[in-house]
Amino acid sequence: MKIAVLSGKGGTGKTLVSVNLAAASKESVYIDCDVEEPNGHLFFKPHNVSKKNISVKIPIADENLCNGCRKCVEFCKFNALAYINKKIIIFDEVCHSCGGCSLLCPEKAISEREKIIGEVQTGVSDNVTVITGILNTGEASGVPIIKSLLDNEEADKREYVFIDCPPGSACVVMESIKDADYCILVAEPTLFGVHNLNIVYELVKLFNKPFGAVLNKCLDGENPSEKFCMENNIKILGKIPFDNELGKINSNALILTRENEKYREMFSSLLKIVAKEVEYETAINS
């Protein structure tokens, strides 16, 4: 089962939850889709890492063949091409690699070249296969890397796949949750936290995904995110306390589940609850 972990902003605990759930599983795959700043590998410290370059196709124009019809310029809804002074100018970073311009060109003046935008690293950390997507600095979109991350045979073989999503609700998040069987929304106990929770709540509803919430950094007293969950009938899967010891272990890039029996139990029971929810959802939807 594929479980995506998401939140409306960074720093709520997506990586904390997904890394520890993956580590608490008997055998699992952890996929870091936060390709602009992947950090799950800092906890797992995977070994036997293999790397694969990820590239996109970018148009390249042959001036000698171009007859200036401008079909490509008019077609591109991202305006990645211009025809100026009898020459096609291509703006690589505006291009979304749809391939339309080269298909349409009646003179076959536009061909495509590969442009490397990042890489996928695959390694092992005990019971967890760790797959990390890395987008090169300055590149505009991580979607092609996320597509490659999730199109993974290894992931299809394992019982549990945890997808650590980028923050927010943009294209990269949609791509990350597209094939997920279940979504875990991580929320902070503040009004701002509620706002961010609502962003991903709206998204998973739009995608018709079964979901539940994990309340992180819980303190005594009122929890606005908990209240929001109650009001909207969002299943609360678990609560993680705002805890000094937990914070210390985590900020030393150590995995709670592997360091401390108390936390291992906490995430094992969270995993059981999540697994039950996924089974239940799969059963009623099939």
Binding site: N79, A82, Y83, I84, I89, F91
Partner: protein
């Protein structure tokens, strides 16, 4: 000489628009014949590359100088290929900008911002 100015409204008393690519209208003005034409900017709702699209329009209309408050790197690349000079406008009306331009009181724009490219 034909010049272009991004504007907020279709009027010589309109303020210059703070954006180039996303300006609602583009004024094409001939400093000799004093003819003016306001074009609707279709790139206002473009998913990306708005500056490139408007630069294409400016180039296609044989414009020699653009007066703008801001301009992105991509639009600059397209405009410089079209040999369009880019002048830094002043906060004020279109008319005031034209007067300053004719009085040779405007300087060339030397800062070009990075694009957002409609991704995400």
């Amino acid at each position: 000489m034909k010049i272009a100015i991004p504007t907020e409204e279709k009027s010589m008393d309109s303020n210059i628009n703070e954006s180039f690519g996303r300006a609602p209208y583009i004024l094409l003005y001939n400093t000799i014949t004093k003819e003016s034409e306001f074009l609707d900017n279709s790139a206002v709702v473009a998913q990306g590359g708005a500056g490139v699209r408007v630069a294409q329009v400016v180039a296609d209309n044989g414009i020699k100088a653009l007066i703008t408050l801001r301009c992105g790197e991509n639009a600059e690349k397209a405009l410089s290929s079209a040999e369009v000079l880019i002048y830094k406008g002043i906060n004020g009306t279109v008319k005031q900008n034209i007067e300053k331009f004719i009085g040779e009181e405007l300087y060339l724009l030397d800062k070009f911002h990075e694009g957002f490219h409609g991704h995400e």
